[in-house]
């Protein structure tokens, strides 16, 4: 078993899996999202009634999940670009992955109140 040189089964493989899964999720969301936005061509009521779904507490948590997926995919995508185009990219791929995870965690913490605040107010009153 070679030590430390194998990509498979290590961080590199899991970041690739996560990149793939998040990319697919965002693509499916975008398909639905263009359909819901198209309702502006039907009537203001049709659009507003559908967008009301986006404002319910359960969907707020799904939006937080969407933000999580988009943020990871975006940050890790920049890491992939760095690995491919920066001459030291491959050497620092692991450090860059933990940087991605760190920045992702900070941004997710920052997004929690703006994205979920209204859901908590609705669920627990005030």
């Amino acid at each position: 078993m070679p030590a430390g040189t194998l990509y498979r089964g290590r961080e590199g493989m899991w970041s690739w899996v996560a990149h793939r899964v998040t990319g697919v999720l965002v693509f499916f969301f975008l398909f639905v999202h263009v359909l819901d936005t198209a309702l502006v061509r039907v009537s203001p009521e049709a659009y507003d009634d559908t967008i009301a779904v986006y404002k319910t507490p359960i969907v707020a948590f799904m939006e937080y999940g969407l933000v999580a997926a988009v943020l990871f995919h975006a940050l890790n995508g920049l890491r992939v670009v760095a690995v491919d185009f920066w001459n030291k990219g491959a050497r620092y791929q692991r450090q860059m992955l933990w940087t991605v995870v760190g920045v992702w965690a900070v941004l997710m913490a920052g997004a929690a109140y703006p994205v979920l605040g209204h859901a908590f107010r609705e669920l627990f009153g005030s």
Binding site: F27, V40, L78
Partner: protein, 153 residues
């Protein structure tokens, strides 16, 4: 890179019993179809990276506007959209985001279908489904941006 080689036990190759030739993985052989002798995959690879960099700004900016600023998702309504699409700047933003995200995501899904769908017919039909959905979505979204009418009612 450490590559483990399989131990072949006691097969002695000689001029009369030559070892089998292993083609380099990307070698163009007589059997490579004409249709693949282009640089399409190279351009696709480049496009994923260039569009990705632009999408960081467009999509994260969009999420910031829609979910964080000005009361978050609670403010979104027909009137809000009408206000935004009154500006050619945001129309162009959304149009470019639509095209880049759909082509980037569509090309990404093409890769994934190629990776996992092993039967030729399954792969063909999955890609047809993907291309149809992608073209439909891009055209619908474009039409909506260009024909938006704030006074529809």
């Amino acid at each position: 890179m450490a590559i483990e080689t399989t131990q072949v036990t006691d097969t002695t190759y000689s001029p009369d019993n030559p070892a089998p030739v292993i083609e380099p993985p990307r070698a163009r052989t007589g059997r490579t179809p004409r249709a693949t002798r282009t640089n399409f995959e190279l351009y696709g690879w480049l496009f994923m990276r260039l569009s990705g960099i632009v999408l960081v700004v467009l999509v994260l900016g969009h999420l910031l506007i829609q979910l964080v600023l000005d009361g978050g998702v609670s403010k979104v309504s027909f009137a809000f959209v009408a206000g935004r699409w009154a500006s050619p700047f945001w129309q162009a933003w959304d149009l470019i985001m639509l095209w880049l995200a759909m082509l980037h995501g569509g090309n990404g899904l093409r890769t994934i279908i190629n990776d996992y769908a092993e039967r030729d017919t399954t792969r063909f039909w999955l890609k047809m489904l993907l291309y149809t959905a992608t073209v439909f979505t891009v055209l619908l979204g474009t039409l909506v941006i260009f024909t938006f009418d704030p006074n529809i009612r």
